[in-house]
Symmetry: none
Amino acid sequence: MTALIIDDEIQIRRLLRMALEAKGYTVREADKGQLGLQEAVFHKPDVILLDLGLPDMDGVEVLKRLREWSSVPVLILSVRDQESVKLAAFEAGADDYVCKPFSTAELMARLSAIQRRHGAHDETSLQAGPLVLDPVHHEAHLNGQPLKLTPTEYALLAQLVRHAGKVVTLKQLLRAVWGPQAEEQSHYLRVYANHLRKKLEGSSLEIKNEPGIGYRLEEG
Amino acid sequence: MTALIIDDEIQIRRLLRMALEAKGYTVREADKGQLGLQEAVFHKPDVILLDLGLPDMDGVEVLKRLREWSSVPVLILSVRDQESVKLAAFEAGADDYVCKPFSTAELMARLSAIQRRHGAHDETSLQAGPLVLDPVHHEAHLNGQPLKLTPTEYALLAQLVRHAGKVVTLKQLLRAVWGPQAEEQSHYLRVYANHLRKKLEGSSLEIKNEPGIGYRLEEG
DNA sequence: TCGGGTTTTAACGCTTTTTTGACGCCTCAA
DNA sequence: TTGAGGCGTCAAAAAAGCGTTAAAACCCGA
């Protein structure tokens, strides 16, 4: 997951970089519009944070040029709260518009929202209730405590967390964890669901079974 | 294009209705959460404007219930500018969050933005009146409530929903659900039609029999 | 080669689902 | 009026799926 920040103020870039890296993003920066467009072309970020007040060209212009070839989600940052500017930005294809000064937490939430819509699942921090998975390091934390998982256990749990609350079919799980040739080996799931249930014991999470269909991670 | 407004203040509803109709939307209204959810089930709006301060239930709760079976774009309206509320709303699956009082033009622009994103990838879901089937998760929802179905029940109902309103012949149903070698076992259908009728009881849907021909799912 | 952790396989009793069989109703035609 | 065929209903029998446990096979670093 790569995020591109296009902003001329170094303080803002630092702040955003910290927040984004905490969420697991790889961050790239640009302090000018031209440079930002180049970055977008060469590094294909998964999301762009674009300031409207750039020294070399107008932010809306940057957005228009970008939209000629890319549909990457773009969140606009701006000091200007003028309605005409906002409308122009949305017209040009912005996904959201946030005024400075902004709340970092809200910004991250809005980022997730537009990425969710874009279809590219926000894989930076898999989370379901008190359970947090770190896809990069294959680590898990439950209620802040480290949770030891074998690779197979992790893979299965990750799959369940990705669709937390919803049923994931037996085939989907088996394909994702053991590969397509294991689609019929549903006894694997019984064994590993059992392992995970023991490790999730005492938390608010439950792995429920829908007979003949699949499994579901549920928060009680 | 249909928009659903869920808000208890009639002035707000009037204002939004005018703005939306000017944009060419068909508008539906609800002044309570329960009613809003029902509207969403029956009329499948293309976008929802949801006020958080409803008299009967919390707006975030409405959103959660909605998200159990629908991925329609939702824009939150709220008088509250608290960060925690915003975060909860985004967490629950909101697409945007606007504080009252709002600019109508900006609201329309934001609406366009989230709808633009939504149009990108359409989900495949079977529907017949108040019944929604999700083929990916093998889940069913009736009037927004989860409906528990066994694999065979699901397969049969899916077949009926695919041809909702039309007669499906005995052979077609048996082939689709039990396989070609079961074409003569019309007995199965009587048993399972019975199961489904019980589960659909109280809804507007009926499974009707055409003697000697087949079955038909009808909305009354 | 050994030892540990991990994955796979196997076996048991249990629950849920599917199949089967039985019975009574209704309709239609002889 | 009566009997045959299709239908709805119920419930028991059979099958399939599940949870659990433990042992066997596997893998990898020491």
